[in-house]
Assembly symmetry: C2
Homo-oligomer: 333 residues x 2
């Protein structure tokens, strides 16, 4: 198959958490990915986050022919131009800032461009989607959003509960994202989002990245490319085609112990199975049409087949993310 | 005045946060205090808490003639017997355990006998009394309470919001405390507690320590001893005389900078004035009849004057705390 249309695109993946190594970077490269938002921490606190940054610095050094750090939106264009895969740092929990608002700017100086206010559970900032009730953004959370706005760090509510998400959209003076989730109407899962949230997100100038994690998809690992692309089309109708992108949630080569840690952190003495269950505790089986980053072209051509124009596909595959980040990563001076 | 009745009592102060030094220990001694629950941390995290413990160890060493560490309820009786002031460690926030349930047992092994689930703001465990809404005890909070129950660490909801407090009473398999607060009906303050909470606390076998911090008192620093003792009497009617004690919230020799840190931690870029206000930002003026720990006898004789029997006064001044701790500090084997 001729991938020249795909290969000309700026392709942005709004979230991956892989066990990063040279093979995975090669796959990203082969899949024509311009930039990936790489989760560098889940539950790590400030000092552990610095260690993750140091590990990444070593990866940048030893894989300089394949990858480069993203320190601004301009770097994404540069990555495309020089044929490297840009790596943008992000946090799936607010643990890197611990209880210190000053750590937001410190983390941004270390190129942490995006941070979730919560990861499933209640955090100091807001409520996660696994709590039974959600009282919204906290006192600290309100100040944290304002500070993230100021320094140009994107607010990500992918793992947050409904009310907190709506409040974050309202409180934030800059548009926010849900980097990796799908509409609840497509598949009922705690992590997927209601039409109310998605509409508010789109109307506020925000962005949704569609997840390819089987737990977020209709029929799980058996979800077809066609089902996925139909969902994209329906969501484009709901939110507008300028407010959607991709956020695969690809977690490659991670052992089950990492999945357990993602789900349980250190807070639980029992086993929490997250989106799985006791009898289904492992990573889900991957989609046949999206096994790893080399399969990105399948999405591009699936969307064209679905009836999206080439312009629209360019937006969904990366330009919407790029346009969003062009503004969102600028600090307010 | 003959203080022999007072001097024979076991006197327990359910909370102080002073800038501990030899003079303050002498005052505790002079006031006939058998044991004080000393806040050793507010916002300190795990490692900083270890430093506070180390500082206390030095204080124990250099003031061994005056004070002794409390490592069990039996140590309180020992302190009385040998004429020393017992120091029981406590935390006003759950920050020492960070996000790690395993730290509860570690802290208990370091003789942290009591911990608040929140300090004014939302924590990872529950909601504080300064948030606009309270969604109750979190997923982590439920597990933390169970673990505190197991290791014999007392749950303290003094700075928590109403719903979280009621849920903690319900969830905890062992009685809990509100170590330092007063009835809302006596003085309207965010930190004071409704009759609903106080009744549930008493019925569950818990304990309220009456605060002498002027912001928690009717007429503030001008509250009279008689007003205070009347409040105690009314609360005894509500909760039962076995479920009340003292928790002065005495904060001696602390500079305003410490008050600001107590109120703001590291979470705020603005100044939060807590129970004060911009025009009233300093520590409150102390009560004329309770300037420091030497004034404990005033409370004892005030309560007798109020009509409490000697037995009842013994309970309120310390025996209720002692009975509570006799059971509460036992780990479940």
């Amino acid at each position: 198959m001729d991938h020249s249309f795909h290969n000309d695109l700026i392709v942005i993946d709004g979230l991956q958490y892989s066990n990063w190594n040279r093979d995975i970077f090669k796959q990203l490269h082969a899949g024509g990915v311009t930039m990936v938002h790489a989760t560098i921490v889940y539950h790590e606190k400030t000092q552990e986050t610095l260690k993750r940054v140091a590990e990444w610095n070593r990866l940048f050094e030893s894989n300089a022919d394949l990858i480069m750090p993203i320190r601004s939106a301009a770097d994404i264009r540069l990555a495309k131009q020089i044929g490297k895969v840009g790596i943008m740092f992000g946090a799936q929990n607010c643990s890197p800032i611990e209880d210190d608002i000053g750590m937001i700017e410190v983390m941004r100086e270390l190129n942490m461009m995006i941070m979730q206010l919560t990861y499933n559970n209640q955090s100091l900032l807001a409520c996660g989607c696994y709590e039974s009730e959600d009282s919204g953004v906290t006192r600290f959370g309100k100040q944290a959003i304002r500070e993230m706005n100021r320094v140009g760090m994107v607010v990500d509510m992918s793992h947050s509960a409904e009310r907190s998400t709506l409040e974050a959209i309202e409180i934030s003076e800059r548009p926010i994202v849900i980097s990796h989730a799908n509409p609840l109407s497509f598949h009922h899962a705690k992590r997927n989002k209601s039409d109310t949230v998605l509409k508010a997100l789109g109307e506020s100038g925000g962005l949704l990245g569609f997840s390819l994690y089987p737990f977020h998809l209709k029929n799980g690992p058996d979800c077809t490319l066609n089902d996925f692309c139909e969902m994209v089309a329906r969501t484009a109708d709901l939110m507008g085609v300028d407010h959607i992108g991709i956020g695969t949630d690809l977690c490659q080569e991670q052992p089950v112990s990492v999945l357990e840690w993602m789900r349980n952190g250190n807070w639980s003495k029992e086993m929490d199975y997250g989106e799985g269950s006791k009898s289904n505790a492992d990573w889900p089986k991957p989609l046949s049409w999206f096994r790893d980053s080399r399969d990105f072209p399948h999405i591009t051509y699936g969307l064209l087949e679905q009836g999206f124009s080439q312009d629209e596909v360019s937006k969904i595959m990366g330009l919407n993310w790029l346009n969003f980040l062009d503004s969102a990563l600028q600090p307010i001076r």
